[in-house]
């Protein structure tokens, strides 16, 4: 009898040992991510912290690593993300409203749903190919004509839209918009779904139409959630490199889009604002990639400094998303 108990006790101890080992293994794997993050940040700071200074932020790329700056990348990213947001947010939110508020459960709706989840899985580089063919080259439709320009006069300035769009900010922004559209739609739908039906019913009961209900009740209530999702989608667009390399964002650029590098330039030459979307560009990420792949090792410091700038921007955006989420979680109670 005691023999059986001995065996049982030994096995139980073994099982507990196994359990503890497994617990430790799971614990370590989880914190592995944190360790990597730390090593990554230390590595980047160690390489780049000394290089981030005012000159780095305000000068163009250079053949001398110590003089290289990221100005063109910063302004390129600003213009690119501005137009990406301009295209993708209204469209994504519109699609989300349609799918959540209007769509009935038919084959078309189901097709859109399935399609959205598949689009989210398409590698970003394929979007780059799409942008290259559709926006940059326009299938070569205008290959015969030279310098074809679509001229649209606005009140104070004229827009000169080149056809095809070429390797411009506009092409990049359209490409990135398509890329983040599924993310924006999914996030906005979740925010809309969080608004309780009673809000809508209350609005209908007061005689509001469906659009009035959406415009004045549902949208304001879901705005914080939407903003959080949209900010995260935008930060994904900021970090995106591959599709922009494909559509041919330049790597060595010594100008900013529209030659605007501050408010003073806008006052001096207002036409620059109209020129910027159709100008060539580079972005922070592309400059980082370009610096990393140059053989001179000094450029790796410039790349690390560029990464610090990029991570700083992303950190601010993520913090904004978190703050918005927390503030409105406190305010809104249903």
């Amino acid at each position: 009898m005691s023999r059986t108990e001995d065996i049982f006790d030994a096995r139980l101890r073994g099982r507990h040992r196994l359990g503890r080992a497994f617990h430790a293994a799971c614990f370590l794997s989880t914190w592995f991510g944190l360790v990597v993050l730390l090593v990554l940040l230390i590595c980047i700071f160690w390489q780049g912290a000394g290089w981030v200074n005012w000159d780095f932020l305000t000068s163009f790329d250079s053949r001398h690593p110590e003089k290289a700056g990221i100005l063109a990348g910063i302004w390129g990213t600003v213009w690119l993300i501005f137009f990406t947001a301009l295209f993708s947010i209204p469209m994504g939110v519109g699609a989300a409203i349609y799918l959540e508020e209007y769509a009935t459960d038919n084959w078309l709706t189901r097709l859109i749903q399935v399609n959205l989840s598949n689009l989210a899985g398409v590698p970003s580089i394929v979007y780059g190919i799409l942008g290259l063919t559709v926006f940059v080259r326009m299938f070569g439709m205008f290959d015969g004509q030279k310098d074809l320009v679509l001229r649209i006069p606005l009140l104070v300035m004229t827009l000169d839209i080149p056809l095809p769009f070429g390797r411009t900010v506009l092409s990049g922004a359209l490409t990135l918009s398509l890329l983040i559209l599924p993310v924006v739609i999914v996030a906005s739908r979740e925010a809309l779904r969080a608004v309780p039906a009673s809000i809508r019913h209350g609005s209908y009961a007061l005689g509001a139409t469906q659009w009035q209900t959406i415009r004045h009740q549902v949208l304001p209530a879901s705005l914080p959630g939407m903003m959080t999702g949209v900010i995260l989608a935008i930060s994904r667009a900021i970090g995106e490199t591959a599709p922009l390399v494909i559509i041919g964002a330049l790597s060595y650029v010594a100008f900013t889009p529209g030659d605007i590098a501050g408010p003073a330039d806008v006052l001096r030459d207002p036409q620059g604002v109209a020129r910027a979307p159709f100008d060539y560009f580079t972005t922070i990420t592309i400059m980082i990639y370009n610096w990393v792949s140059r053989p001179k090792t000094e450029y790796q410091h410039a790349a690390a400094a560029g990464i610090l700038v990029l991570l700083f921007v992303l950190l601010i955006l993520n913090a904004a998303a978190i703050v918005i989420r927390h503030r409105y979680q406190k305010w809104i109670r249903w």
Binding site: R15, G19, H23, A25, F27, T30, F32, G33, L34, L37, L40, C43, I44, G92, G94, A95, I97, Y98, Y102, L111, I112, N115, S117, N118, L119, G121, V122, P123, S124, I125, V126, Y127, I129, L130, L132, T133, V134, R137, F139, G140, I185, W211, L232, R236, G239, E240, T241, A242, V245, I246, G248, T285, I288, Y289, V292, Q300, A304, L310, L311, L314
Partner: protein, 331 residues
């Protein structure tokens, strides 16, 4: 709406209020329908995007609708799938996609070896072991890891992983020769990159396993290890497999880390310490060069992109299928 209006109007004599009310309602209705149409078009944009992607790839790779010829109208499928050389830039061109596929699978394989166990283990930790407070700290950190741009991971692979991790261990200690650009460093960082994908998706399915199953396990004398590994993980297996597929598909489509760290020489070798080239890296390197538009080398870009698109699409569909087909439904 008009039907509802009639009874209220019937009480007031005279045609004027009736007509104005009707017109008002119909203008509002047109506006409502117009808004609905616009929103519908927004939703349709996603379908248009898919159609455009497929059209572009097929048009340049398989069958040219626009003037010119497509890639596979000049290069045979047999050459593409069986030739073991990918040399689009030389005079005597070879278009065998196998070396690129081998490079891609090598990097994705290394990423899977690192990312899948770590991701699964951390998802088990988060759902079974971690206290709510620990979870509140760890999850945002994993999200941060997921939010870091891939170009940063590429930098990390080239500047840290190869010189400070691979070279000391595998070259100085074990005697392999490690190239500056190698598949292993790219695979390692891609593996790190997919950890958050796996752990957050798997954690969701692990947590959705009902508590009763765990309690039953404990009642039968199981340890926490037994419950986690023999009850919870099998119950959530479909979701875990789906997350694995999704993560591997992401590793295959990953571009910047691979372009920076894995190199530019396509070869069939499975040696992880050698210079290699993946499908995504080829597309980037090709588009950086000054290949004339319309040349066969230029069109090869679309053939590779189409292959990549098909592979990742199949894996994503497979992932969704597993999730739907084998999901255990608990009341």
């Amino acid at each position: 709406l008009r039907g509802d209006d009639v009874p209220t109007d019937s009480g007031t004599p005279g045609p004027t209020p009736d007509r104005s009310l009707t017109r008002q309602v119909s203008v509002a209705r047109v506006k409502e329908q117009f808004i609905r149409l616009i929103l519908f078009l927004c939703a349709l944009a996603s379908i248009v995007t898919t159609v455009a992607i497929i059209f572009v790839l097929v048009n340049e790779a398989i069958f040219a609708v626009t003037p010119g010829t497509a890639f596979f109208q000049e290069v045979s499928l047999k050459e593409f799938f069986t030739s073991t050389r990918w040399e689009p830039q030389y005079d005597e061109k070879h278009f065998g996609v196998m070396p690129l596929v081998a490079g891609t699978l090598l990097v994705a394989g290394i990423a899977a070896v690192i990312g899948l166990p770590l991701g699964l283990a951390s998802s088990i930790y988060l759902s079974e072991y971690a206290s709510p407070q620990a979870r509140n700290i760890i999850k945002p950190i994993l999200e941060l890891l997921a939010g870091i741009p891939t170009v940063v991971y590429g930098y990390f692979a080239l500047v840290f992983v190869t010189p400070y991790l691979l070279r000391p261990v595998f070259q100085d200690w074990l005697g392999f020769s490690v190239d500056v650009f190698n598949a292993a460093s790219a695979g390692i960082v891609v593996g790190i990159m997919i950890i958050p994908t796996i752990s957050s998706l798997s954690e969701d399915v692990l947590r959705s396993v009902p508590r009763g199953l765990r309690e039953a396990g404990y009642a039968l004398g199981s340890t926490k290890f037994d419950v986690s590994v023999k009850i919870v993980v099998p119950a959530a297996l479909s979701g875990i497999l789906a997350s694995f597929l999704l993560a591997i598909s992401r590793a295959i489509g990953e571009t910047m880390a691979v372009v920076i760290a894995a190199g530019q020489s396509p070869n069939l070798s499975l040696n992880p310490f050698r210079n290699t080239e993946t499908m995504t890296a080829y597309i980037v390197n090709m588009s950086l060069g000054d290949t004339p538009v319309g040349s066969i080398a230029y069109k090869s870009l679309y053939a590779v992109a189409l292959s990549l698109f098909v592979i990742t699409l199949l894996m994503n569909i497979g992932s969704q299928f597993i999730l739907r087909r084998f999901r255990e439904v608990y009341q």
